[in-house]
């Protein structure tokens, strides 16, 4: 427990100082250097650390809506590690190369595609690694999460099956969403504490307090769902993970979408401004929800995989 907590607080300290939310609107290669060369966060999979350590980092990167391609690269590293790869592991581990994921098979919108050295591509049940491709940056609504259109120059090489990598991506997105959603509620509560109307803090109005409580419940439930799925990666990768992973992605994305929307409302006018961070969380929430499988489909997938 203390190891995980130490990891969390170290990452939080670094990101708070060097990569606050506002800094995510633009590329800053120094952030990636700090996360990799300085902190070694990309080497967690190759060192055989449980995926829950990666998830703890992702909760922190979620809090600041990290722009750097940590999620894509670390999921790729974990998937490749599990498949026994030694070709790309060293470069991914030291951060000298990054990866992008196209595990839903779509090349027209690939997160972190531009700048990636390799692409993990799902072709049906096959997992391919692609080295030769071009990536044309797109203009995303969520400017903290770059997307690109990818064209393959040469076909990829089959590494194994794609389902485990996809499950890892679900779990990673769940952890990231949980961190972001927790942060959104914190920011909202802080606003309700400070902002006064009718001569009293907004947070003293029961109508608003109850909404905050409901958001807390949603985020706690999402946290539990992500926590369970993260543990399943090590504890039960064959039986439990295929159910828990898509479920966690759905539950956390729904919670993130809900709190991010409510956050704008509870912030009032200031929440509608470009200057405020609320819209950045809102756009990330919807991007996460709309990409990599919609919640309704994922819940049904989990239901079916559970043999219901």
């Amino acid at each position: 427990m203390s190891d995980l907590d130490d990891l969390r607080s170290a990452v939080r300290g670094l990101l708070t100082t060097h990569a606050p939310v506002r800094a995510q609107l633009h590329d800053d290669p120094s952030v990636w250097k700090r996360l990799t060369a300085e902190m070694g966060l990309m080497s967690l999979p190759s060192e055989g650390m449980p995926f829950s350590y990666v998830c703890a980092v992702l909760e922190e990167t979620g809090r600041v809506l990290l722009r750097a391609p940590y999620l894509s690269s670390v999921v790729a590293a974990a998937a490749l590690h599990q498949l026994g790869d030694t070709t790309y592991a060293p470069g991914l581990a030291d951060g000298s190369i990054t990866a992008a994921l196209a595990l839903d098979g779509r090349l027209d919108q690939v997160v972190d595609g531009a700048g990636a050295s390799i692409l993990l591509l799902a072709d049906g049940d096959d997992l391919l690694v692609v080295e030769d491709f071009t990536a044309e940056p797109l203009e995303p609504m969520d400017r903290t999460r770059p997307q690109a259109r990818v064209d393959l120059t040469r076909p990829g090489q089959r590494l194994g099956t794609s389902s485990h990598a996809r499950n890892l991506q679900y779990v990673a997105l769940a952890s990231e969403s949980v961190g972001a959603a927790q942060r959104v509620v914190e920011l909202t509560v802080e606003h309700l504490r400070v902002r006064e109307q009718f001569g009293r803090p907004l947070g003293s109005f029961q109508a608003l307090r109850h909404r905050v409580a409901d958001l807390t419940v949603a985020v706690e439930a999402a946290t539990s769902s992500a926590w369970y799925a993260a543990r399943a990666v090590s504890a039960s990768p064959e039986a439990d993970l295929p159910v828990a992973a898509p479920l966690a992605k759905a539950v956390t994305a729904d919670a993130f979408v809900r709190v991010a929307g409510e956050s704008i409302q509870l912030h009032g006018g200031i929440g509608f401004t470009w200057e405020h961070d609320a819209h950045l969380y809102f756009k990330r929430a919807w991007t996460t929800s709309l990409m990599h499988g919609d919640s309704r489909t994922l819940r049904r997938l989990a239901f079916q995989r559970a043999g219901q």
């Binding site: 309700l192 947070g203 109850h210 905050v212 419940v217 369970y228 479920l247 309704r296």
Partner: protein, 379 residues
């Protein structure tokens, strides 16, 4: 033998014969079922050493780990063990006495709970003190070595069976709110105590009104200092980590499976597929939430886990009842001569899930105040 196997084996060997009719009985909405046999079953559990699993060994418990307690509740629920008629003693009165009582209290009261021979009820709510528990008006006065208790308690489940009631009463005349209350242990079998059943919207009764009219209990039957009863009553909440929650969820799973099977058999699965899937997903989240709450390695304790859990399971359970009726369709509006079906009972009784044990509104207030420290909604 693993602990799980020990539990399973014992239940397989004992929940049979004379106790066989108890499988799946009792519980919220069904507390009126087989009360005498369930009382005997409580004593059977006591003989088997299954009461007070988590209590310390020096007071007669087994000092079982949280994992083992969870295992017991899971296996008990899977075996269809009847709702415990002694749970007020084991889970509320006993732990309070262990934490705040004197050695004499422990010697006098704990053995009866552990043996299942003395049953308890909880005298908290009053007609004027529901969500606002600190507004209790039941009063007690110390005269000639005894507390004299007068007042009315309400929603007292199992009061008609209980031997003892733990009562929050005002012992400092003129005191207000949380001050001046005491935590008294009052015998139920005496002329000054009258129990009247409340007929619920299910048509059945498991809650009661309890009238105290100069009921007496010896002076030493106060837990904690006189006037310190609020702290004693609330202290219990701090220990509550929802160990029984996973057992409760085994019951939820059984209910859900029944609804799903009904939808598959009566041709409504496609029409209700999305709600059935969402409800299943909600049940998984309840399990994940309970496991995370119980896992000491999981980080970021909020201190309001019990409140969050209640706000998750109670509305979920209520929606399951509504879904059950929707799946059953028009026939679900008819009552058979045998009375309400289990699913009809689920539908009706779950209206109380969001009210008892702290209404959803109170839970939300607690989260806002205790976790987020938002200022109170008072001028």
């Amino acid at each position: 033998m693993t602990f799980r196997k020990e539990v399973r084996t014992w239940l397989a060997e004992h929940l049979v014969g004379e106790f066989a009719p108890l499988v799946g009985t009792g519980g919220p909405g069904r507390e009126h079922e087989h009360v005498e046999l369930r009382t005997a079953w409580e004593q059977e559990l006591g003989r088997g050493g299954w009461i007070g699993l988590g209590w310390p060994t020096d007071v007669g418990g087994r000092g079982a780990s949280i994992e083992d307690q969870v295992t017991f509740h899971e296996e008990y629920a899977k075996a269809g063990g009847p709702a415990r008629i002694g749970h007020m003693g084991e889970q509320l009165a006993g732990p309070t006495i262990i934490a705040f009582g004197t050695q004499e209290h422990k010697d006098r009261f704990l053995p009866g709970i552990l043996a299942g021979t003395e049953l308890w009820c909880q005298g908290y709510s009053e007609p004027g003190a529901g969500s606002d528990l600190a507004a209790v008006r039941t009063r007690a006065e110390l005269r000639a070595g005894a507390w004299h208790v007068s007042g009315q308690k309400v929603w007292t489940s199992l009061a008609h069976l209980a031997d003892w009631c733990f009562v929050i009463a005002r012992t400092d005349p003129g005191s207000v709110r949380h001050r001046g209350l005491s935590f008294l242990l009052v015998p139920m079998d005496q002329p000054g105590v009258e129990v009247r059943p409340i007929v619920q919207l299910t048509g059945t009764s498991e809650f009661n009104e309890v009238f105290f009219d100069d009921a007496v209990t010896p002076a030493e039957n106060v837990v904690g200092e006189p006037g310190d009863g609020w702290r004693v009553a609330m202290g219990l909440l701090a220990f509550e980590r929802g160990i029984s929650t996973l057992g409760q969820q085994v019951g939820f799973t059984r209910e859900y499976d029944e609804v799903l099977a009904l939808a598959r058999s009566n041709g409504t699965f496609e029409a209700f597929e999305e709600r059935l899937v969402d409800t299943w997903a909600g049940l998984q989240v309840l399990k994940h939430q309970a496991l995370r709450t119980l896992d000491s390695d999981a980080s970021s304790s909020t201190g309001v886990e019990a409140n969050v859990n209640k706000l998750l399971w109670a509305p979920w359970h209520q929606k399951l009842g509504e879904l059950a009726m929707a799946v059953a369709g028009p026939p679900s509006t008819l009552v058979s001569p045998e009375g309400l079906s289990p699913l009809q009972n689920l539908f009706l009784f779950t209206r109380s899930d969001t009210i008892y044990g702290g209404s959803s509104e109170v839970q939300r207030n607690v989260i806002a105040e205790r976790h987020w420290k938002l200022p109170k909604d008072r001028p």
